[in-house]
């Protein structure tokens, strides 16, 4: 890791740390035809830190990401990236404002090479217009060269330079996820949204992903907002954690505090142990069937409480 780091910074001065943005989510409420998916959600992310959002499926994590990247316009609330109001911006404008996003399913453009996918991340940074690029005017080709250099530097940093010429469609899942993250970095974000970066990865790949997230935060200074189900990764990488359940914020705290918060254990972390308890004391088929429903994982807990 340290070797890779020194190579990246020595050979690519272009890849200099920049100030990550602060994020202030205030009273964001999102309703879909009467159903409240986010209910007055508020939390703050300090510049340059890794902040995780955890919670059971259906807690509103994906909806929150879609609000932050301009896909959904919330019914109420405010989202400030430094001093920029993100609510009301189209998705491509949120990218210009500094929000980079990596996707849960990697979302590679399969008809393109890895390098083209990464160049796409820099689409909004190139100033040449529709025509000049096509006819390869000097300015356009200089800009293109700069873009390619920058992409190589970022690919070196992530450790995927050997994949640049591959067709995106040929990538195994784990590598597609890393290319997706690199593409999000290529947009030069001040806030990076990572949607389940380790989903479907092996233990070894998960550890690499955790190290990569920490390095992006420490060495590039980018603020990272992370949604992830793997608790090892969340606890290992995050500075702060916000717990969501049924669209409301239960708490925002340090990993240690979260680990020991009884409300969190009840809503999320303790779900499986609570279910075990239920199964031990009262092993009815209805409990196990509702426990298996991923959309309502906290039901067994609440029924037990009642």
């Amino acid at each position: 890791m340290s070797v890779e780091h020194s190579v990246a910074t020595a050979e690519s001065p272009a890849l200099t740390p920049k100030a990550g943005a602060s994020l202030k989510v205030h009273d964001v409420t999102m309703r879909f035809s009467g159903v409240t998916v986010l209910d007055s959600v508020s939390f703050e992310v300090e510049p340059g830190t890794v902040h995780a959002i955890i919670g059971p499926n259906g807690a509103g994590k994906s909806t929150l990401f879609n609000v932050l990247s301009g896909i959904y316009k919330p019914s109420a609330g405010s989202v400030l990236l430094n001093d920029t109001q993100l609510i009301g911006l189209r998705p491509d404008k949120t990218v210009r404002a500094g929000v980079g996003r990596a996707f849960q399913n990697a979302s590679m453009f399969n008809s393109m090479t890895v390098e083209e996918n990464l160049l796409l991340g820099r689409h909004h940074l190139t100033k040449a217009n529709v025509l000049s690029i096509g006819f390869r005017l000097p300015r356009a080709s200089r800009e293109e060269q700069e873009s390619r250099d920058k992409i190589r530097a970022i690919a070196d940093f992530v450790g995927i330079s050997d994949l640049l010429d591959r067709d995106a469609s040929s990538l195994p899942y784990g590598e597609a996820k890393r290319v997706d993250l690199t593409r999000a970095l290529a947009t030069e974000p001040t806030l990076l949204l990572l949607d389940e970066p380790a989903a479907g990865m092996h233990t070894h790949e998960k550890a690499e992903m955790r190290d990569l997230i920490v390095r992006i935060s420490r060495e590039l200074g980018v603020t990272i907002l992370l949604v992830e189900h793997d608790m090892g990764l969340v606890m290992g990488a995050s500075d702060r954690i916000t717990v969501l359940n049924f669209g409301t914020v239960i708490t925002t705290d340090s990993p240690e505090a979260i680990r020991n918060d009884p409300r969190v254990i009840e809503a999320y972390l303790g779900h499986s142990s609570a279910r075990d308890q239920v199964n031990r004391t009262d092993d009815t088929p209805s409990d196990s069937s509702s426990a298996g429903d991923p959309d309502h994982p906290s039901h067994p807990d609440t029924t037990e409480e009642a």
């Binding site: 189209r90 979302s107 008809s111 160049l119 689409h123 690029i133 096509g134």
Partner: protein, 298 residues
């Protein structure tokens, strides 16, 4: 020799259809709209050129440039004013049906403007012909073949190599992800409509050149050949537009050329032939020869 002549004519008119069909494909890829008003846009653009030439006495190149630019503006206006309200609600099939209405409105206006006239764009090729491999060919059609080949190649390189082209392909593949990469879907959509309209008008210039007599109200039916061309190739394939255009051009040239041996089809079968091919292709490959998505499923 006869066959070679038919083939050359078929290829050259096919190249024009390919330019027009490419416009339909670009629009379909960028905005998911099956634009039935595309042939009408061609007529409007060509009419502007002919009007500037015959009415105001502009030289051909000036009126051609003005007409091509004016059609780009028309394309952008259609996209902004008529298509945008549909794309906001993701009603792209309805938008396609709206373009049928738009096409009727534009055609009616054009019929009124052109009237009984036969208008000329004042193109420099006149009615001169050249011998190509022993077969006679109009200079206008030969130029059409060359211009179309150059434009199609330039477009292909632009789409593959340029930053904007990559953005355009991404927007066609997966609009949501493309937008989250900073690609402005607004801009992509406007550029697509403008580009399509310009290609149509360039095709229009050649379509009304010799051996065609000029721009009159009957040209509409010829322009409509671009629709089977785009459908045969596959609505979302730029390669398909070129192949579809050539298939339509060649089919018509052969049916017309060998009409005397194909008497069981009657004397006016040539205009219907592309649609027959379209039916057969669609029955075997519902997405068209090179297409990936069926129009009905969009």
């Amino acid at each position: 020799m006869e066959l070679l002549g038919f083939t050359l004519n078929g290829l050259s008119s096919g190249a024009i259809y390919a330019l027009v069909a490419l416009g339909m494909v670009i629009v379909f890829k960028a905005t998911d709209v099956l634009n039935f008003a595309h042939p009408s846009v061609l007529i409007v653009g060509t009419y502007i050129i002919a009007m500037l030439h015959t009415g105001l006495g502009w030289p051909f190149w000036a009126s051609a440039a003005a007409g091509i630019l004016a059609s780009a503006v028309l394309g952008i206006l259609i996209e902004r004013l008529l298509i945008k309200p549909f794309s906001k609600r993701q009603e792209m099939v309805a938008a396609g049906i709206m373009t049928i209405g738009l096409s009727i409105v534009l055609d009616t206006i054009m019929q009124h403007q052109i009237g009984a006239r036969m208008m000329s764009t004042g193109d420099p090729w006149g009615n001169s012909t050249v011998q190509v491999l022993g077969a006679s060919m109009s200079v206008a059609r030969l130029t059409a073949l060359i211009v179309a080949a150059v434009l199609l190649l330039a477009f292909y390189i632009w789409l593959q190599r340029s930053d904007f082209g990559v953005g355009m392909r991404a927007a066609a593949d997966d609009p949501e992800t493309a937008a989250l990469m900073g690609v402005s879907l607004n801009k992509t959509s406007m550029v697509a409509w403008a580009l399509a309209a310009m290609l149509a008008t360039i095709g229009g210039i050649f379509l009304v050149s010799y051996p065609s007599a000029g721009l009159d109200v009957t040209v509409t039916s010829v322009v409509f050949n671009a629709i089977p061309a785009a459908v045969i190739g596959g609505m979302d394939s730029t390669t398909g537009a070129v192949v579809g255009g050539l298939i339509v051009g060649l089919t018509q040239a052969y049916v017309l050329g060998f009409q005397s041996s194909l008497t069981f089809l009657g004397n006016n079968f040539a205009p219907a032939a592309p649609y027959l091919i379209m039916l057969i292709v669609l029955m075997i490959r519902p997405a068209g020869l090179f297409g990936t998505k069926e129009v009905s499923r969009v």
